[in-house]
């Protein structure tokens, strides 16, 4: 398996996701869930085949991490859809997945490269996959936040059970995943580089992102908080996350000094 086949797998998966999204709009829940799952399986089979061919999980390059992101977005969309029943979420997650798939097709920072010794660690796979899952959840949360802002900040999206705010749950779970990713990274760094935290630019931005979501979670627990400020804050958090994820590759202060910069 190689990247030449990506277009076919991606297109085939996207068609399923699009049909799933359409079924969701039409209120056909079972069809929506079923078709989306088939799309996920198609996309995952490509990742799996790449994994087997390369003898290591495709997680090394930013193009490869985008692959996981394109998988997790519809997956998270599906989870949110089954749980909170927003008819629009599958359309959004499909659209986002399309964007990432298109970037991978048209701007390939892609290579079937061998794995350097530092990355050959049992921590490697959990570290990156958990982070990608967190990014996907927080990306979905950002979409929900943007949707709520467009709707005028009304809590129309609220669950009928008043004790649970879906946005808060998304951030909670996203942050839990992010905590796992960050601390797995720390434990791995100790084994690979001798120290668990070296304020490497990626680590610095990971700390920033992590704390910014903590600000949000603390802020919305204030009895009298401003919903709009909270929603805008979430969008800001996601911008900081972009910096952590790929922005540092272009940041003058980080270039050449990070073990995390994705090299060509």
């Amino acid at each position: 398996m190689n990247w030449d086949f990506f277009v076919y797998f991606a297109a085939f998966a996207l068609i399923h996701w699009a049909f799933g999204a359409w079924a969701a709009w039409k209120g056909k829940r079972r069809a929506a869930i079923g078709i989306t799952v088939i799309g996920l399986l198609i996309f995952f089979s490509f990742i799996l085949a790449m994994w087997i061919t390369m003898n290591h999980p495709p997680l090394r390059t930013i193009g490869e991490t985008r692959l996981w992101y394109s998988l997790f977005l519809p997956l998270v969309g599906l989870i949110i859809y089954t749980r909170w029943k927003y008819r629009w979420i599958l359309s959004f997650s499909t659209l986002m997945a399309t964007v990432f798939i298109c970037i991978n097709i048209f701007k390939p920072e892609i290579h079937t490269q061998a794995l350097m010794p530092a990355l050959q660690s049992p921590w490697f796979v959990p570290h990156v996959i958990v982070y990608m899952f967190a990014y996907a959840l927080l990306g979905a949360a950002t979409l929900v936040a943007a949707w709520m802002l467009i709707k005028g900040g009304k809590s129309e999206m609220r669950d009928e059970r008043a004790d649970e705010n879906p946005l808060e749950s998304l951030i909670n779970i996203g942050l839990a995943f992010m905590t796992f990713g960050m601390l797995f990274g720390a434990l791995w760094a100790k084994e690979a580089w001798g120290h668990y935290w070296s304020w490497d630019p990626k680590e610095t931005w990971a700390a920033i992102t992590w704390m910014s979501y903590l600000v949000y979670l603390h802020y919305i627990r204030l009895p009298r908080h401003n919903t709009k400020i909270a929603l805008w804050g979430l969008i800001l958090c996601f911008l900081l996350l972009q910096m952590c994820w790929w922005g540092i590759n272009y940041l003058p202060s980080a270039i050449g000094s990070s073990v995390h910069t994705y090299t060509n």
Binding site: P117, I173, A186, G194, I208, S212, Y219, L251, A254, S257
Partner: protein, 305 residues
């Protein structure tokens, strides 16, 4: 429900985020003055036993402030969201500044953020807030998944923040350049000074495997380690697989990249970090707290059914 707390405390006007931001601003002001007068934080001062004493005093201060919280409005205020949020915001902003500026170990001001007083004081405030929140919660601890989750997360972060920072001065990192067949006991420390190492290391063989395209697949060192007490240990040090001996960990650091597989030289790094168990306790607590975040959800769902 929400007004209950306000009824209990007969305060004229409850302090809010504004006062929280003011506390942070005052600390940053103090930090700037300190930076300007006595210069950056000198972390090397904190080597044992100074860090131990500092830790004890810090914990004592948190205990005292918690005890005196009934009498002092400020102390009571310190363990509230209204302080936690501004502290986190300041920490985020200062860390962004750090992320945007090239950090140098000999940098001045924000170019060496880890020794920049405002940065250090804001993180210290974060530790104080965390400590006071944890202690107060611990004194009235009632078991529930939610409380346990809160405790594990906050206490874990508190422990990591304090022990990682204070313990850093006790951490030793020495680089050893070894050649095949030679015994080496001199290393270079982080200040680039040559020092005698507690272990003598003989490089028996340098192992290197490459991929078809010549990129390194594996590099490792077969070594014999001798301790001062006369213990001898044979080991292979791989990347990602450090060897542990006498409280030290030996890491594969580098080799002669010009010669590649023919390299007769291997660079090893010796690391000792006596505070590591404390930091790991904090990390595991945080991981436990993150895990409970899922459990909490599951429980809620169960209740509904």
């Amino acid at each position: 429900m929400k007004d209950e707390t306000r009824d209990k405390t007969i305060e004229r006007k409850p302090w809010n985020l504004l006062e929280g931001f003011a506390i942070g601003a005052v600390l940053i002001g103090i930090g700037l003055i300190l930076q300007w007068t006595i210069g950056p934080v000198v972390w090397s001062v904190f080597s044992w036993p100074v860090n131990g004493i500092t830790l004890a005093l810090f914990l004592l201060a948190i205990g005292l402030m918690t005890v005196l919280a009934k009498q002092c409005r400020l102390f009571r205020f310190l363990s509230t969201q209204q302080v936690a949020i501004p502290t986190l915001v300041y920490a985020v902003v200062l860390t962004i500044v750090m992320g945007l500026t090239q950090q140098k170990s000999d940098g001045r001001g924000i170019e060496n953020m880890l020794s920049y007083w405002p940065f250090v004081l804001i993180y210290a405030l974060m530790a104080i807030v965390l400590g006071m929140v944890c202690l107060r919660r611990l004194l009235h601890f009632r078991f529930s998944i939610a409380n346990l989750q809160f405790m594990a997360f906050h206490l874990g972060l508190f422990i990591v923040l304090l022990t990682a920072t204070l313990g850093n001065a006790d951490m030793q990192r020495l680089k050893l350049i070894t050649f095949v067949g030679q015994i080496e006991w001199r290393g270079v420390n982080e200040e680039n000074r040559v020092v005698e190492t507690p272990l003598a290391i003989e490089l028996k063989r340098f192992i290197m495997e490459t991929y078809d395209n010549g990129q390194p697949k594996r590099y490792a060192s077969e070594i014999v380690v001798r301790t001062k007490s006369g213990n001898v240990k044979h080991a292979i040090v791989d990347v990602n697989k450090p060897v542990r001996i006498n409280g030290w960990k030996i890491y594969q650091y580098g080799y002669d990249t010009q010669k590649g597989a023919q390299s007769q030289m291997s660079i090893l790094e010796l690391v000792r970090d006596p505070w590591l168990p404390a930091v790991y306790t904090g990390i595991y607590l945080m991981l436990f707290g993150a895990l409970l975040m899922f459990m909490r959800k599951g429980r809620k769902e169960e209740k509904r059914r």
